[in-house]
């Protein structure tokens, strides 16, 4: 009998300990977990267009654009670097893509290449002109910047992002195509045409246990 009682009390105490342990664990669990990672690390979570796509496409395409003969030809003919402005990147895809971040990535790559002179785009120019107008009224004369001295662009880089979707139960293939072109602002000649493709397959499980 005492042996049986000891076993019973051991059993009861084990259950209590397990329950206590579980409640402690539940108390420690956090709903939100934050981990800092290198911005260069690829983070494909949903399969949608993300920062990695934007950065990689901008980097590859700008490098490609600047490696083509139109640039050398221009420098030889004019004796200076061409002035480039980034125009509109049209979103023709199935996703709500923030094209502004892609435009910024393109601008950064163009600027940092040091092979072209890069000027501010349409929206930014408006802000800068407004600042000049204000300077003309409020700033000291020797510090005022005069109008009519802007550098006109020789080329405009513009393009679009489009997608083709193929989907069946639980599996989706997304094909992104980014088309960029460098257009001569004087002659409308398309001096360079680049294309970058990305293909992703997103799979979802139908049942989880």
């Amino acid at each position: 009998m005492p042996e049986r009682r000891r076993r019973a009390s051991l059993g009861t105490s084990s259950v209590v300990m397990v329950l206590m342990g579980l409640s402690l664990l539940a108390g420690c669990a956090k709903e939100t977990k934050v981990t800092r990672i290198d911005p260069g690390v690829v983070t494909d979570l949903s399969g949608r267009w993300n920062d990695t796509d934007s950065q990689q496409v901008a980097e590859t395409m700008v490098k490609e654009a600047l490696s083509y003969p139109w640039l050398d030809n221009y420098v030889k003919a004019k004796g200076r670097q061409p002035v480039v402005v980034v125009g509109t990147i049209v979103n023709r895809s199935h996703e709500h893509i923030n094209t502004q971040t892609f435009v910024t990535d393109l601008q950064r790559e163009l600027s940092n290449s040091q092979k072209v002179t890069f000027v501010a785009g349409k929206g930014e120019r408006e802000e800068i002109r407004e600042e000049r107008r204000e300077q003309a009224v409020h700033a000291r004369e020797e510090t005022q910047k005069s109008a009519g001295k802007e550098l006109g662009a020789d080329y405009m880089m513009k393009g679009n992002i489009s997608t083709i979707l193929d989907e069946t139960d639980g599996t989706k293939a997304v094909f992104y195509q980014v088309d960029l072109e460098m257009i001569d602002l004087e002659s409308n000649v398309k001096s360079w045409y680049g294309q970058k493709k990305i293909k992703k397959v997103v799979e979802r499980k139908r049942m989880l246990f």
Partner: protein
């Protein structure tokens, strides 16, 4: 009848206790009825912002299983309130949730199987999922953000293509004529004529394909659109074919319309259908058959009343030989609106257009349910059998556990409670996107550039005035488009 009455007297004391417990089990549906009554009142009073507040306050009542429904209900009233960005944010969340719900969890499925289908996460009927994109597209269109509106139009195309691949019923909901038509309008406004033509053509084919059950005929404006776009794209064969099909349709060429401003009015008429329970009580003994007949005679078949349902559950639980199966039914709330008259009054003149029916949610809900019914019924019967078996087992287990003296009494009480719970917990999944209207009608008109007062007045099916007249002022340039929405409740 006599044995059943006698049976009721013997157990009258226990009925009270059981009734209280089961009233609690069946009272959940009453809150959603009250909530939607308040939302309808706010919409009828022309105050969608108040409806949005009511929904936000009821977030907990919706519960985690109905998160998508909460977002759909809220997204639509925010759209009606003109808070387009907030509506888009909420509906985007709903879209993401629906995508996640593709993966089912065994524990959730088991829980729903053992109680009722409303315990499953709500992912919306296929037509409701399409409407998430449609409302988002209209939000972007109202903000004149055509690029993003077209993203939704492309998603609609993808969604409907996948739906057509998945759906086996040849004449069921496997495409959406209205969603296609709206996509066509948006593509045309954005200057994507080829995409517009594809969408218009698909809309035309779908309207004809499902006309027999959707009760929506091909809108006259769609015929004009097909003629205009095929002409603009120089698709001579198609244009000639449409000309033969619509010999009496008067249309304006694209060269003429592109110099004018375009006004598109979307009118949401009436209230969406809702769902109710239809209970099938199957007696498994003669005594139980008498009880079911008695219950129906006494008026306990009024299933929307939770008190009546609780009484049923008590009686059937005590009898112990009645199996209940719950099936949803669609309850139509047909709109009184026949059509709306849109008038654009400007300095260059007055231009009018009449709205035309483009979407009928009542027939869509009925068709969707009829397509799903075989699956729902099989599951409901299987669940009822399992619940009955479990209740029997619980009663016998309690009998054995209580020992010789009190065993029979405990067994009867526990068994009765378990069977009453099995009956009371049986409920059909009555959830649906109830802030949607009964019908959508559309009017398109082209006007010269200028300032206009846009007035709209609806006419009832009896020929009188329906709802209140709305009026707003707009300024439009040549080649521009304005998409505006109206909610007419009666």
């Amino acid at each position: 009848m006599a044995p059943a009455l006698c049976f009721m007297k013997r157990r009258s004391v226990r009925q009270g206790t059981l009734a209280v417990l089961l009233l609690l089990a069946t009272s959940g549906c009453a809150t959603s009825v009250n909530r939607y009554a308040l939302i309808d009142q706010s919409l009828m009073a022309g105050d969608p912002s108040r409806a949005a507040t009511i929904i936000e306050k009821a977030k907990d009542e919706y519960g985690s299983e109905s998160r998508v429904l909460y977002e759909m209900d809220r997204g639509l009233v925010l759209h009606l309130a003109g808070d387009y960005q907030a509506s888009n944010d909420v509906l985007e969340q709903a879209k993401d949730e629906v995508e996640k719900l593709y993966t089912r969890h065994l524990t959730t499925e088991t829980k729903a199987f053992l109680t009722h289908d409303a315990k499953q996460p709500y992912e919306g009927a296929p037509y409701e999922r399409t409407m998430i994109n449609v409302i988002k597209a209209l939000n972007y269109a109202a903000m004149q953000n055509w690029t993003e509106a077209l993203v939704e139009a492309r998603q609609i195309d993808d969604r409907l293509n996948v739906l057509a691949d998945r759906t086996s019923q040849k004449y069921g909901y496997r495409d959406d004529a209205f969603a296609r038509y709206l996509s066509g309008i948006l593509f045309e406004i954005a200057g994507e004529l080829n995409d517009a033509f594809i969408a218009y053509r698909k809309a035309y084919e779908e309207y004809r394909h499902v006309g027999s059950w959707s009760h929506v005929s091909v809108p006259a404006s769609l015929k004009e659109d097909l003629l205009r776009v095929t002409d603009a794209l120089h698709l001579t064969d198609e244009h000639e074919a449409y000309k033969k099909e619509f010999p009496n349709v008067v249309w304006r060429p694209a060269g003429e319309t592109k110099t004018l401003g375009q006004i598109v009015v979307i009118s949401y008429n009436g209230r969406s259908p809702h769902k109710d329970d239809m209970f099938i009580d199957a007696p498994v003994s003669l005594d139980a058959l008498n009880l079911v007949i008695l219950s129906k005679t006494m008026g306990n078949g009024q299933y929307s009343n939770p008190n009546r349902r609780a009484v049923d559950s008590v009686l059937y639980g005590l009898n112990g030989h009645v199996v209940r199966v719950a099936i949803p039914t669609v309850v139509a709330q047909k709109t009184q609106v026949a059509y709306g008259q849109v008038k654009a009054v400007g300095s260059s003149g007055t231009y009018t257009a009449t709205t035309q029916l483009v979407q009928n949610f009542t027939t869509l809900a009925e068709r969707t349910l009829s397509d799903q019914l075989p699956g729902i019924a099989v599951k409901a019967v299987a669940r009822a059998v399992v619940k009955y078996g479990m209740a029997e087992g619980v009663g016998r287990g309690a009998h054995a556990a209580a020992g010789k003296d009190t065993g029979p009494l405990v067994g009867i009480i526990v068994g009765s409670l378990a069977k009453a719970w099995a009956v009371a917990s049986e409920e059909a999944d009555k959830r649906s996107w109830r802030t949607l209207p009964d019908e959508i009608q559309i009017a398109r008109l082209w006007v010269p550039a200028g300032d206009y007062q846009i007035q709209m007045q609806s006419t009832s099916r009896q020929g009188g005035i329906a709802g209140r007249e709305s009026s707003r002022t707009i300024s439009i340039r040549g080649g521009e488009a304005r998409v505006m929405t109206e909610r007419v409740v009666p």
